[in-house]
Amino acid sequence: MIGAAPIAATFFDGQTAQRHPVLVSVTSDGSGLILDLQTGVAPWLWPLTRLRALGDQAVVNALTLTLQSDSDDESPRDPARLVITDPDLMAWVRLSAPQLAKRDVRRGTATKIITRLALAVASIGVIVFVILPRMSDFLADRMPLETEVKFGRAVVSQMKYLLGAGKSGTLACNNPAGEAALNRMASRLMDGQELKYAISFSVLDHEMVNAFAAPGGQIIILRGLLDTSDTAEEVAAVLAHEIGHVEARDPTRLMLRAAGSAGIVSIVLGDVTGGSVIGIIGDQMLQTSYTRKAEAAADEFGLAMLQAAKVDSAAFADFFDKLSGLEDGFVPPEYLSSHPSTSARAARARDFAAAQTGTTPILTDAEWQALKGICKG
């Protein structure tokens, strides 16, 4: 037990860098330490309940003590320090001071953390979901056509890479008869239409049921879409829909937004130059998450285009039905799967088809078979 004899220690008053020799003794009731500087000033009393020791210290043969106190410091502690080296006193303090290792936090700290966290999440949310889309819309409408086309080429080669092409181009399907059929379908759809973009179609050899529009007018069809379609009209309907996206500059908007989001993701993940984020953009493109409004507009555009070309839009409805069938089955549909309410869109296409008259097949049977075989040889 600590006797009445005062023990020599070192005291720093927190006001000057002077080292003060101090005599430390325990109060008679054992509830605190008496610090006597022996300079004539009355001794200080440090109550055990407010005593704190510095944590994670390298020095094992000394104990640095401080006092819990409402100060301006980063922690609510008194700036003064008491360094004791007497083993008995160190042991007694460790045993007797109840909250020696307590980490005091100021009142309202939890609120502060929650507020900051909410603020951080909210502002990043606002950036990603409000400001970036608006900026993308604004910039997409002002992007020079050649930049958009260049941009589209980059997107397409990125896409090919993601779909598993070692070098860009190796996935391309170019059976001459199939290409001729595809060209016939394209001219049937687009002849007489006033389009802002020079639209080009190409087919990639991949089993995914998908088609997507890249910025600048390139529309990519994946072989899976041709395999799943029963009629040429189904394919034509999807292409007309994609042309609608191109004309509305939807892919460009999406890409700009993805690039901006990638900048944000890169900082949150700590990848400043953004190298690993390119994959995220490509992935987002494959998911083609346009807004519902953009989808509905592209649907309307596609239906109008089918009407002008005298192509039966019932095929569009068939395609949607097939998709919802796939949704029930074991194969998750990739194309249009993230698009809004497939059945509602099928109903809309069917209504539209009911009013159509004088439609003719878009391709002959032979041409349709040729198109289906575009990836062969």
Partner: protein
Amino acid sequence: MSLNSSGNTRYSGQSTPIFKLAFVTGLLTVLTAGIYRFWAKTRMRKYIWSSVSIDGDSFEYTGTGLEKLLGFLVAIVFLAVYLGGIQLLLTFAGLGIMGQPDNELAILASVYLSFFAVAPFMLFAVYRSRRYKLARTRLRGIRFGMESAAWGYALRAMGHYILTFLTLGILLPRQSFYLEKFMTDRSHYGDARFEQGGRWQSLYGAMKHVFIGLGMMVLGGVLAIAVPILGAIIGVIGYFWFFVGFAYYRVHSYAYLTNHKTLGGQVTFVATPSAGEILKIVILGGIAVGLAGGIAFAILGGLFAASFSGMGMGAGPSPLAIAPLIIGYLLILVALGALAIVMVTQPVIAHLVNHLHVNNTEALAGIRQRAADSGADADGFADALDVGGAI
């Protein structure tokens, strides 16, 4: 506590406790998906700071993990907004990270543009980080501190970097000197100010091995025309000499700059570090950590292969079977990080501290406390941008 005033600085940190601390905090960081890193950093600093003493008085690190987390949240919002906008505009200009992949120049330009967009913030973060560290450092209960001048630093640093780049590195000593002077002249201990004296031209002495290495590379290149093998040998030696020369420059420029600092016009410093000793620590320590890592990963790989060899040609490894592998991998990574601190970081710090002497420590007694610094972003920018080094 000894009451002498010899001005000796000492590093007293030990290998076992710091390894334990680094391993445990590293593990907690992994388990909390990185969130604990603010507390991990704080606890490591507390240990290292408390290991350094002058005349027996230990330094104290008073930073908190909480303030680092809060600072990080602020920094990340700021940077996210900034970088999101920059990327969007770069993309609009046809560059950005979605730039035309078959145009090398555009890719290069976009990477550099992204980098230059962030560079001012990185330099800003360098100054802020040092300011935060000083603001959370105490000796004898008295705070260190630094004036707020991070943007001024970033601006000057960019100027110096460009100048050094344009002069092919010849003005590197000038850059080192003025950037250190900028920070030192704004640093305080209590109410006493640090001051950086000396001349930048004097740092050329520390550059000598860099120049020797460069000279040998040039000589090797010239010789290679006549005697290819001799030229190649001299060139390769020059190449290594050049890199060792850089280490020598860092150590000796630190020593020169430290020896010409004064505190409050009265306290001076004598640094006598040995570049050879430090190189030895870094190289041997690096080899040891590398070997340990190689062996640990080899054992893990062997165990993994053995556990799957008996499973036949079934379906691929199940997630349950891979879990021990991932856990083992993470454990090894954390242990290697802790080992690097024990084998490299701590010995280098110990060497620097043990070869530092403070003259006239009696004058410290007259220094008075300075006001608390809120710490602003508390390393948040440095953390978000990954600048600031080992500790």
